[in-house]
Subunit: 334 residues, 2 copies
């Protein structure tokens, strides 16, 4: 049995920074993440991609940010259960929690922090015949590495920002890009839609509005996608790869059964401490929502700091919290 | 007349980061700061001090953080009026503002953002005879450079965290440290108070509780401080330097007359966009307050991001704001 003060579900940038803020207040953390390494989507999906909006870094590669955060929290000696999903949560008589993972790891803690980010969601799948047949090798619910599509023939489906942005981006990478959308107007940003219309006019992409997906077709590899237009005519779009970008839906797994208030795809929290409707359970980062919420890493950092000030009362019920600046006191580990 | 979208009062780390977030939304910024250089208290008070709680930087010197932030906002070409105080604010018929500085600079903008931080406050001065006589050379309301006090005899006054922390720190630097407090218990953190008691017991500092300051004394330089104890007896503490640490009081200057809601030393704001009670005026960073507020640079960064999302409607009233990630789109300047 692991004894800790705070059990953090999710070891992405926000979960990792919570370790730092907790450490300043002498609270120990154990992190559990379904991925085999720390860093969340930064390490899993775009480790080599530059990020531009981390304050103080004109640009930093995603993995480099995670590496730096690991150095930053090293003095506080966090412990990890990686490659393990949270299975059970059991409230103890004294108010503390027992968290159990899918490999049987048992973690006893005073406070649970959900920092599951995108990992708590799964892509919305299109309703198209033969999807499962080609899903493994030829269907991509997110663009992890654009180079995979260099000189390929691809079909993107969707009408939001992801679909528009990747259409614009991949127009310069792929051999041929077809964008399919069931409606005749886009939900995404007007200037992105503008760019897509321009590319279509210039013949640089193939734009199919008011078309519905019918079937993925091919003998062994994917070859084409069968569509149906407004006039109920069949249309065929050649495709080596199919990229449906229909957004995400929650995949909270057992967390969904804890009784947390969920608003659309996110856990509702208070803005003063990012606590959920259940005492001692907090949610920070992309998994939470509150008025004005922006899914930015830098917002998750702020949420982690305020959350720790609030969680302190459960870890040290007898102590008065006093706030200190690291510039005066430095970082005093355990 | 300078025409800009957002006029930012204060060019510290939070004001500077607001330029970045505004720039992502194609809003231009002009910054005005009473200090002769950017960076706020980081550059003015502790440029060489390491900061430990900037996410992604295990440690970074204050000036280095500011230098990096200047690089980060360079693509957005902010303009500056440095060494100038805001004097007037005039609402125009169309809702926009005309800001005038002490040197006569006129700035026309759609939105005003107060990011004045500590610069909007001044130290509380003790009521002690001869203060003004020694104020210039021998009285210090903040410790800018501890090395100034190496091998000197100093008297610190106060009962909060600043007084306690600097007493502990300077005990190893100065020749002799006397801590004077009018009460017999401290307001600061219990563990800091504990350290001070220990140092006093070990004879490493001179602790004078329940003593009141009476006068600073000396012929040309400061030589001693006259105090009075509980029994109304005179006590003399030798002193080359006097460091009264009684906290700060607001020094909002003309801003105080704008009708903003002030709570103690800070401007009250909403947590969803950090707007004040006056439309088109926002307050971010150490100058604002809201439930759960922590005076951390990283919180100011978050506040800057949410503020810009809200300010957009005044700069582009006809446009729908669409939120984009820099990882997908990069940083597109003007």
């Amino acid at each position: 049995m692991i004894q800790t003060d705070i059990c953090i579900i999710g070891a992405g940038p926000v979960g990792l920074f919570a370790v730092f803020e907790a450490g300043l207040l002498k609270m120990r953390c154990h992190l559990i993440d379904v991925l085999p390494q720390v860093g969340g989507q930064l390490s899993e999906i775009y480790p080599h991609k530059p990020i531009y909006d981390i304050p103080g870094y004109p640009t930093i590669k995603a993995q480099e940010l995670i590496d730096n955060q690991m150095l930053q929290i090293a003095p506080f000696k966090p412990t990890f259960s990686l490659g393990e999903r949270v299975e059970h949560l059991e409230k103890q008589e004294d108010g503390s929690y027992l968290v159990t993972g899918s490999d049987g790891t048992a973690i006893h803690c005073q406070v649970v922090v959900i920092a599951g980010g995108l990992g708590c969601f799964e892509p919305r799948k299109p309703d198209v015949f033969n999807l499962s047949l080609f899903e493994k090798a030829h269907v991509h619910y997110m663009v992890k590495d654009p180079e995979k599509f260099r000189d390929k023939t691809i079909v993107i489906a969707g009408g939001g920002d992801s679909a528009l942005d990747w259409t614009v981006f991949l127009a310069n990478v792929a051999k041929q890009v077809t964008l399919v959308h069931r409606s005749d107007s886009f939900r995404g940003a007007p200037d992105s839609a503008e760019k897509v219309y321009e590319l279509a006019q210039q013949g640089k992409i193939n734009l199919l509005l008011s078309h519905n997906l019918m079937a993925l077709e091919g003998t062994s590899a994917l070859q084409q996608i069968r569509l149906i237009n407004k006039a109920k005519e069949e249309v065929f779009a050649p495709a080596d790869h199919f990229i449906p970008l229909y957004g995400l839906s929650p995949k909270l797994g057992p967390i969904a059964e804890w009784g947390l208030t969920i608003d659309k795809n996110a856990i509702e929290v208070n803005t003063f401490d990012y606590s959920t409707n259940i005492e001692r359970i907090y949610a920070i980062g992309d998994i939470n929502t509150y008025p004005g919420k922006l899914k930015l890493i830098l917002s998750g950092y702020h949420e982690a700091a305020l959350m720790c000030q609030s969680a302190f009362k459960y870890v040290y019920p007898e102590q008065k919290l006093s706030f200190k600046y690291t510039t005066v006191n430095g970082v005093n580990a355990f």
